[in-house]
């Protein structure tokens, strides 16, 4: 996807960091809005507006939502790897699907935000704190399963993923819910949705061909997935999708 000039991202490749996937920042060049698509990941975000700086923690999302901004509004974020959702939500991970902690609620969940908010370089403070995992890291088989979901574009069944991991489907589902906050089927469907979107938007594949290549049974099934995860039709892509740092993969 073409990245807007005002968007910066430092890629920390998945293999080099167990916790953090990317540090990103975005400054709004003008007032407007953007559709944030679910990507199954949690972000820790500092949002700067004329009113001041607010901390935001996003839970693993399965629905799209719109963000509205004024010119000069800034976001700085840490995108966590999918299996580290547990780090910020701990035992509440089962609850906060599609939920967001804002301001004092975010600070209560992640006390390091208190010092980050008053530091001259808040992102450095956050990045530093994230070097030390609070919770036990996810089992290797979970990270490998996540890799397989992404490599296969979400097209491998839960049964196939479980067989690869050496776990039963039930245990794999438990591990996903525990560490990622979503079940493997939903997570795979989100990955599949994003790939279909790229095939249509970036590669200009015709809709039926995109549905087939993305692994949907047919065009209507793809349309249903787009309605669920994006709130829009594949035939009518919203104009305000182009802000990858705020959620799209």
């Amino acid at each position: 996807m073409p990245l807007p000039q005002s968007y910066r991202e430092t890629r920390i490749t998945p293999k080099t960091s167990r916790m953090v996937e990317a540090l990103w920042s975005f400054v709004a060049p003008h007032a407007g809005h953007s559709l944030v698509l679910p990507d199954g990941r949690c972000d820790i975000i500092l949002r700067d507006t004329a009113q001041g700086t607010t901390a935001v923690i996003t839970g693993p999302a399965t629905r799209a939502y719109r963000v509205h901004f004024q010119k000069g509004d800034r976001w700085r974020g840490v995108r966590l790897r999918p299996e580290t959702g547990r780090f910020v939500w701990q035992d509440q991970l089962a609850i906060p699907v599609d939920q967001v902690l804002i301001g004092p609620d975010a600070v209560a969940a992640l006390p390091v935000l208190r010092s980050a908010l008053v530091a001259p370089d808040p992102m450095a403070v956050l990045a530093q704190a994230l070097q030390i995992p609070r919770a036990r890291p996810a089992p290797a088989a979970l990270s490998q399963t996540l890799d397989a979901v992404h490599t296969s574009g979400g097209r491998l069944s839960v049964r196939h993923l479980a067989a690869r991991s050496g776990w039963t489907p039930r245990h794999l589902t438990r591990m996903f819910r525990k560490y990622v906050g979503l079940g493997p089927k939903t997570y795979g469907q989100i990955v599949q949705f994003h790939r279909a979107l790229r095939l249509i938007k970036d590669h200009q594949l015709p809709l039926s061909a995109a549905a087939h290549e993305a692994g949907y049974a047919d065009h209507p099934h793809m349309t249903r997935a787009f309605a669920r995860f994006g709130g829009f039709s594949p035939a009518r892509l919203p104009a305000d999708l182009d802000l990858p740092g705020l959620g799209s993969i």
Binding site: T151, A163, R164, L199, G215
Partner: protein, 134 residues
């Protein structure tokens, strides 16, 4: 069109390059800085390896190669005059033996192994009358 490349998607490109050097006596042409792509020196048709992440970045969806699962439905075939020696070398480097060298009725000696990624590799003698690079 010419057959330019055979590119196999693997979990670890540097490890695979080293493995193909040790197990099959090939030499690497280069390894990209990203560590997501590398080529072996195999003449005009290049045997190359790409990282699974590279597939995702290219918006491809593939079933990752898996040593524990049945092999994917294709093979790479190396041709050599001393199949037994090549087979033994591959197995001691860490390949899983599938079928040891056997003489076939049509005069070819044929063996199969699986590499560290679970890919099917055939090591065989030249078909009678054909050329070999040894």
């Amino acid at each position: 069109m010419k057959l330019g490349y055979i590119i196999i998607y693997v979990a670890d490109v540097p490890a695979t390059l080293s493995f193909y050097e040790t197990a099959f006596g090939l030499h690497r042409r280069f390894l990209h800085d990203s560590k997501l792509y590398g080529e072996m020196d195999t003449g005009s048709t290049v045997l190359a390896f790409a990282g699974n992440e590279a597939a995702e970045m290219a918006d491809l969806a593939i079933t990752p190669n898996d040593p524990k699962a049945p092999a994917a439905g294709w093979e790479v075939c190396f041709v050599t005059d001393d199949v037994q020696a090549a087979f033994d070398r591959a197995v001691s480097a860490g390949c899983r033996a599938v079928t040891p060298p056997q003489d076939k009725p049509w005069g070819q000696t044929v063996s199969y192994v699986r590499d560290i990624n679970g890919c099917l590799v055939e090591i065989a003698s030249p078909v009678r009358g054909a050329q070999t690079d040894g």
